[in-house]
């Protein structure tokens, strides 16, 4: 992607002060997002992908210490005052959460909750906001929007609620949509519908999307570019097709090996041995060293820097696939 980036994140680190001591959740992560781009962030549970995204609009609890910068539209989101930050949230950068069942307020109607965003940011009247809510419900393909707009969240199914969340996120035509595991809580057929919807949104509205997921299938489906995270670090970044065709980092290779392939008979899916490390401070060696087949002395004593193995293909590994093939 050669266009001027919409969002440029540099050296983002997040540390939590917990009762058990500090926890380094994200360690010096940098990436960019171009207009109209769909960027997938993949990784296992606890790899810091959600924390990374939430820190961008500063939705993390106060126990989180965030450093680095996230420049959006010329301003650093991490240094923004609360008032200006609120003008970005929901208007420029919207967020869709993983849990559609609990992310909507049970005591307000769907229309209220969608309308609230446009009333706040665009200053619409109550009546105009309701009209806009109906349009948005239509946009996210909720049947009978005129009726649904006055319903409460408990009257809707999980998939419908996620559509409402998407409608709410799109209410002000944001430039960036952060979708944090939007399909994880939904069953497979509903998932496909939501992904279709997100693809359509990108086509029709030109919204750039950051899609956080642990599901590589989802990423392969709609992402242009993919970042693989492991234990708080970015370990690989590549255009989606390239990543699937020629993964470089042993972790990515492992992840792809763990995907069941229809038609291929396999006795057992491949797994990556060991556990994800939880660090109190940034590790001074490769985060994947303990679980890596190719780990050696260098891996255990030095931090691998990100380097380009091909154009647009970065990997933080001393022994990427490309080197071993050579």
């Amino acid at each position: 992607m050669s266009a001027e980036p919409l969002l440029e994140v540099s050296d983002l680190s997040v540390r939590f002060d917990t009762d058990e001591g500090p926890l380094q959740a994200v360690d010096r992560v940098s990436f960019t997002l171009a207009p109209r781009e769909v960027l997938g962030i993949v990784g296992g549970s606890g790899c810091g992908k959600s924390v990374t995204c939430m820190s961008l609009v500063r939705l993390l609890p106060q126990t989180a210490a965030v450093t680095g910068s996230a420049v959006f539209d010329g301003v650093d989101l991490l240094a923004l005052g609360p008032r200006r930050l609120r003008r970005v949230r929901g208007r420029e950068i919207s967020y869709i959460f993983q849990e559609p069942m609990t992310s909507l307020n049970p005591v307000f109607t769907v229309g209220d909750q969608i309308g609230e965003v446009v009333r706040r940011h665009l200053g619409l009247s109550r009546r105009a906001a309701r009209q806009r809510a109906v349009e948005l419900l239509q946009l996210v393909r909720i049947p009978a929007p005129e009726r649904r707009v006055d319903e409460y969240p408990h009257q809707l199914s999980g998939g419908m609620r996620q559509r409402v969340m998407i409608a709410m996120a799109l209410a002000c035509d944001p430039k960036v949509l952060i979708a944090d595991e939007p399909t994880t809580a939904l069953d497979v057929t509903i998932q496909a519908g939501i992904l279709d919807l997100m693809r359509e949104i990108r086509e029709r509205l030109g919204t750039a999307i950051v899609l956080v997921t642990h599901n590589l299938g989802v990423v392969a489906d709609i992402a242009d570019r993919v970042i693989v995270m492991y234990a708080g670090r970015k370990v690989e970044e590549a255009p989606a097709e390239e990543l699937f065709a020629a993964p470089q980092h042993p972790y990515t290779v492992g992840l792809l090996g763990a995907i069941p392939r229809p038609g291929e008979r396999q006795e057992r899916l491949e797994e990556i041995p060991g556990r994800v490390p939880a660090a109190a401070a940034p590790l001074e060696h490769c985060v994947f060293a303990d679980r890596c087949r190719f780990a050696d002395e260098t891996t255990r004593t030095q931090v691998p820097a990100l380097r380009a193995v091909r154009r647009d293909h970065l990997v933080a590994c001393f022994h990427p696939e490309a080197d071993r093939a050579a």
Binding site: L59, V88, G90, L104, N105, V117, R120, H154, M168
Partner: protein
Amino acid sequence: MLVVASIVVFGGVRAIPGNPAIALGAENRDPAVIAAVKAKYLLDKPLPVQYGHWIWLAVQGDLGVDQRQLSVGHTIASRLPISLELAALSMIVSVIVGIPTGVITAVRRGKPSDYAATGVALIGLSVPHFWLGLMAIIWFAVDLHWLPAGGYVTAHHPIANLKHLLLPAVVLGIGFAAVLMRQMRSSMLDSLGTDYVRTARAKGLSEWSVVCKHAFRNSLITVTTVLGLQLGALISGIVTIEVIFGIPGFGSLTIDAINQRDYTLIQGVVLVVACGYVIVNLLVDVVYSLLNPRIRTI
């Protein structure tokens, strides 16, 4: 529900030691007089007959006459408004004090103001009404002469009326404010940690609307339930407060009736309280369903 209450009332009154016929006959222990009294009040009949007679008249709105031959219905009607006024005032005090402090302490959790308010609430919760009432009288009435020590002035003189009720209402209200504040604080803390509050923040809403709209509305649901449960405590609180402050309300009427072994009066009083309890709980349920759409649409 009310039938059960009425039977308990009836049985309970009769379980109180002491003989009303003797109490009525005063010094006159003449068996003939006592027998006449018993016959007049059906005290010589079996209990089920007495109950049937009483309840039959009660459902028609006639609670009978007390020992002084005054209509129980009228006595209650003249005393009840005084207590209702006291109850309403103390509720207002407790809501005005309890709800905002609950919200504020939840928002400022862990800060000195939170600890201070929670500490004061704990004291408010632990101190019994009667002691607080006595202290308030000594301080504000006897020492400072700010407010009258007790008594009651009818609402025809609104200022004097309020002056007389202010101290008892505050004393009674403070205890409830503490309960309300603690409840509000904990349910606000729950609400503030929910996903939908995070959603509200992600939408770019102001902190005011995140707290006072999204979190507050949900917290009210639990607080309303607790408020309904506190009603029993409010009624018993009114009884002691009225006695301490010499307010001729429903509570002091109850105490007098019990001291006099005035069966009809006690029965009438307690039946009215039971009705009131049921009605208020019904109101609480209605409010609850208005606040909680998940109940409304089932």
